[in-house]
């Protein structure tokens, strides 16, 4: 169990650093995919529903600390997102790829909504503008990246690169 938790921490930190490092390479029209969100959703979908908020909170809190924004914002948004993602049908066989895409997209959208609700009052753009200009497109980008990664991992598994 301790080993699993440690592995989770290391993965979160690596993904965050990776995201920070490659943000300039992954940037399209000023939008970035949320790689940590993809990872946390994927982990949550394979865990029980009561554990998913803890996974989201921990991942979000690490993100808050490392990125240096307001402490707790990502922790809150990711707790909610991870919990909600587990409300979708579980089990590997039930989750088709289009459904997974929808989960990534809706969860990214939900996270954007939660974060924007904190940021909108500080921004000169209104909530609607932030949602339309950044929320929707970046959610779509995150969902596409997420499904891309899943398909790549599937391909690796099929070709016995991964156990």
């Amino acid at each position: 169990m301790v080993r699993e938790i440690l592995k989770f921490f290391i993965f979160v930190v690596i993904i965050l650093i990776f995201q920070m490092t490659l943000s300039s390479h992954l940037k399209i029209l000023g939008l970035f995919p949320d790689l940590l969100l993809i990872f946390l959703i994927t982990v949550s979908l394979n865990q029980s529903r009561h554990l998913s908020p803890v996974i989201g909170f921990t991942g979000g809190l690490i993100q808050d600390v490392l990125i240096g924004g307001t402490l707790g914002v990502f922790a809150l948004s990711k707790s909610i997102v991870c919990y909600v993602s587990c409300l979708f049908p579980t089990g590997k066989h039930e989750r088709s790829r289009p459904l997974l895409f929808m989960i990534f997209f809706l969860m990214a959208l939900l996270e954007n909504m939660v974060i924007n609700s904190f940021l909108a009052h500080e921004s000169v753009s209104g909530y609607g503008t932030l949602f339309l200009r950044y929320g929707l497109p970046s959610s779509a980008y995150t969902a596409m990246t997420g499904i891309g990664i899943v398909l790549f991992l599937d391909w690796m598994k099929n070709h016995h690169f991964l156990r």
């Binding site: 490092t21 529903r49 009561h50 600390v65 707790g72 914002v73 922790a75 809150l76 707790s79 909610i80």
Partner: protein
């Protein structure tokens, strides 16, 4: 009662956990501006910065490699450009010196550029870019600001072949300027020549200047040839063995003056 509590926990625990996480998140937001939270974030960002540095190492290395290649190309181009400018600068300097010398010398001279050299190490032959059309004749002396260079060996309408002092077949009548001891200069090796035919009783010392004697239709008297570097006297022999070093550095000359007339032109007073 206990069983009821247990059932409630099983039914609602996910909401309780979610609520706890949300509550914890809000608590974190409240703690955000505290000293400890700021310190924690600073430390974490420091560690993240170090890790980030490690992650960016490989992309930076690739970028640096590309930049390095590009810069090397640029350096190559700039070096070529710099060399061209430097060459022009040196040529300009040499030309200026030659022009100054031409103005100061009383003889009628014409400047010539060395366009080729003999590839054999014992043949001190040079190819000039002027010929008979420019007034060049066989046996005209070649000089520069340092002194005697050689003479014209053959001429075509537009080119000429010059023979340098440092040719194994070259001879020139010369004297020690201080004591007027006469002899014949011939090439030894490198920039060294020997002055032959100076008798033992003549006064010659290292450092003496050797100049043309004037006993020639080719060279005017007093043209510097070189400096004595070594004097050897063997009692059994009639002559001194005098070694001199030429004033002209033959490895570096690129222009010469062709002495077209040994007669000093008379000044036109206008009458």
């Amino acid at each position: 009662m206990k069983r009821k509590e247990s059932t409630f926990w099983h039914q609602k625990r996910e909401f309780v956990i979610l609520g706890s996480m949300v509550l914890l998140s809000f608590m974190c937001m409240q703690l955000d501006q505290t000293k400890y939270a700021t310190l924690l974030k600073m430390k974490a960002q420091h560690v993240a910065g170090i890790l980030n540095e490690g992650f960016t190492y490989l992309p930076r290395l690739i970028k640096i490699k590309k930049q390095n290649k590009k810069l090397l190309e640029q350096v190559g181009h700039l070096e070529l450009e710099r060399m061209t400018y430097q060459e022009a600068l040196f040529e300009n300097k040499r030309m200026q010196e030659l022009l100054d010398f031409k103005k100061s010398t009383p003889y009628l001279c014409v400047a010539a550029e060395i366009v080729g050299r003999s590839s054999h190490s014992t043949h001190g032959l040079i190819y000039l870019n002027i010929g008979s059309q420019q007034g060049c004749r066989k046996n005209q002396a070649l000089i520069n600001d340092k002194g005697l260079v050689g003479k014209i060996l053959s001429v075509t309408p537009s080119t000429a072949v010059g023979q340098l002092i440092v040719d194994q077949n070259y001879r020139v009548s010369a004297k020690i300027q201080r004591s007027s001891a006469h002899g014949i200069v011939r090439w030894l090796y490198g920039s060294r020549c020997i002055l032959e035919g100076v008798s033992l009783r003549n006064d010659v010392r290292p450092g003496d200047d050797v100049v043309t004697s004037g006993f020639s239709d080719i060279y005017p008297p007093g043209l510097p040839v070189g400096k004595v570097v070594e004097v050897k006297e063997t009692p059994a022999k009639l002559f001194k063995k005098i070694t001199l070093r030429t004033n002209v550095n033959f490895d570096c000359i690129e222009e010469v003056l062709v002495l077209q007339s040994m007669r000093i032109p008379e000044k036109n007073d206008g009458s």
